[in-house]
């Protein structure tokens, strides 16, 4: 079947050009007064949505004990092999029988897929919303157990970036 091609014949109004030009000018003028989308990064920080996969943390029980039982499921699930766990006996007598003596993550290798938190039977490892943890050395991007527990303390109550964004207006300037 043949396609019928209809071309638009400009009317007299179109040929005047100026009405269309004025409408174009109005579009840019409207945007001129609109709220700006720029986030002035170091002063104001982007707040990631729920479910954002950033820096890892190791969760604790309310009594302060670490949830991790060093089952190494996360290390097994990890596609980039960046989780290094040394299991051992816990420092406490009662309760869980296994305990991570050391828990290191090579953040340079990590691809932030979130498989570790899905594999974890104890909900011990989780990815947080923290995205700006750059470092000037390779060693600085190895995070150990203490570091991961510290991240838990920073992020357990509220969104890590929420507090800072209250202080600085996102689009001032």
């Amino acid at each position: 079947m043949a396609t019928i091609v209809t071309s638009y014949e400009p009317t007299f109004w179109d040929k005047l050009y100026f009405p269309a030009l004025l409408r174009g000018l109005m579009v840019t003028l409207r945007h001129f007064f609109q709220k700006k989308v720029t986030i002035q990064y170091p002063d104001a920080k982007y707040i990631p949505p729920e479910g954002y996969r950033g820096l890892h943390r190791l969760n604790k029980y309310p009594d302060g004990r670490i949830r991790c039982v060093a089952c190494e499921m996360c290390a097994a699930a990890c596609p980039s092999g960046c989780i290094h766990i040394v299991p051992g006996a816990p420092p406490w007598e009662d309760g869980k029988e296994r305990y991570p003596v050391s828990f290191d993550i090579d953040l340079l290798r990590c691809i932030f897929c979130g498989f570790c938190e899905m594999a974890c039977p104890e909900q011990a490892i989780e990815l947080t919303e923290i995205y700006d943890f750059s470092n000037s050395s390779r060693e600085g991007l190895w995070i150990n157990k203490d570091g991961l527990l510290e991240v838990y303390e920073m992020t357990k109550d509220e969104n890590y970036y929420m507090k800072k964004s209250h202080e600085a207006d996102l689009t001032s300037g």
Binding site: G24, V27, T28, F32, K36, T38
Partner: protein, 342 residues
């Protein structure tokens, strides 16, 4: 000419020069900020309060850059071209009246560097000279893209100068004089006595031609970066490159001031008699001139960030087949009206 008159002229020239250069600096920032705002961004706001010192930082950067002169260029002309572009822009401003007559220490001082009676002719001559800067820059660079930019510039010139000149002719018919002050005096009174209302067609033609004249979008074919890398200033660097930009903004300022003078009553404030207010009235007239010029400068930027560039053949067609006949018809009607009524 006595020594005091000479000093007055020098001071006026200096003040005008400084004002233009300061406005050029402000415009470089304004362009970036306004364009950013139109794209829902913030633009440069880090140097100084609200980014106001950004032009200074840019200037220092341009001065520190290496000044490269390619080996194949025609050196004298290559060095002269940026100057050729900026000087006519500044010279044109010399005859634009930026305020009414100032009375100081028993002297009447015209707020205008030079009050010449063939003002409009002088403007038309100098704006044409300005294009030489672009053509020479393109030609002396000895490189294909600048050459194409220069060629486009000269072709653009002949298609727009005509329409622009004819648009001005209808203004001259109304004023009966080539002196810019006479043209302003003819527009004094209320709003409707401004030429923009008496000659709307001439105003439109003139404004479009002015955009072509200053090589601003939608007529920036001479530096179309998508097609010609950088156009006529491709081979330039450092402060010489900055001079092209200064010239572009100086041209815009002059063009805006000229549009205001010819069509918006210059320094005139409608419904007000400036002369009765003494020197306060003079100040108000200067403020009125600055506001009107600033408005046109804003429109320059506004238009640049709204419209896409014209294609080469579209530009030619618009110049020769639309604007030129319209300008001729406009002159015919104006002249006919004047013969019948006066």
């Amino acid at each position: 000419m006595d020594i005091v008159t000479l000093i007055i002229i020098c001071v006026k020239a200096l003040v005008v020069f400084a004002a233009i250069m300061l406005t050029v600096m402000a415009m470089t920032l304004a362009e970036r900020r306004i364009s950013a705002f139109m794209q829902n961004r913030l633009g440069p706001n880090r140097v100084g309060p609200k980014g106001l010192l950004q032009p200074l930082a840019d200037g220092i950067k341009f001065l520190m850059k290496e000044d490269v002169i390619p080996s194949g260029v025609d050196k004298p002309i290559f060095l002269l071209a940026p100057v050729m572009l900026i000087v006519p822009a500044l010279m044109t401003f010399a005859i634009i009246p930026f305020g009414s007559e100032l009375h100081l220490f028993g002297r009447a001082i015209q707020l205008q560097v030079a009050d010449i009676n063939i003002g409009v002719l002088y403007i038309l001559a100098l704006t044409s000279v300005g294009v030489y800067g672009i053509v020479l820059a393109g030609w002396s660079s000895n490189s294909k893209y600048p050459l194409l930019g220069g060629l486009r510039s000269s072709a653009q010139l002949i298609s727009y100068e005509l329409a622009m000149g004819l648009a001005i002719v209808s203004i001259i018919l109304l004023a009966g004089s080539l002196r810019l002050n006479d043209i302003i005096i003819q527009q004094q009174g209320h709003f409707l006595s401004w030429n923009v209302f008496k000659q709307p067609l001439a105003f439109l033609i003139f404004v479009v031609a002015v955009y072509a004249e200053t090589n601003r979008l939608p007529f920036d074919l001479t530096e179309a970066e998508q097609e010609l890398v950088g156009g006529y200033h491709t081979e330039y660097s450092s402060i010489k490159f900055a001079m092209f930009y200064m010239a572009e903004y100086a041209n815009m300022i002059t063009a805006s001031a000229l549009t205001v003078t010819l069509f918006l009553g210059g320094w005139d404030i409608p419904l007000m008699n400036e002369a009765a207010l003494g020197n306060l009235g003079v100040l108000l007239s200067v403020v009125s001139f600055v506001i009107k010029t600033a408005l046109f400068l804003f429109i320059f930027i506004w238009v640049r960030w709204t419209f896409p560039r014209f294609r080469y053949d579209q530009l030619m067609r618009l110049g020769w087949k639309v604007m030129l006949p319209l300008a001729l018809v406009n002159i015919f009607l104006t002249a006919g009206y004047l013969t019948l009524t006066v």
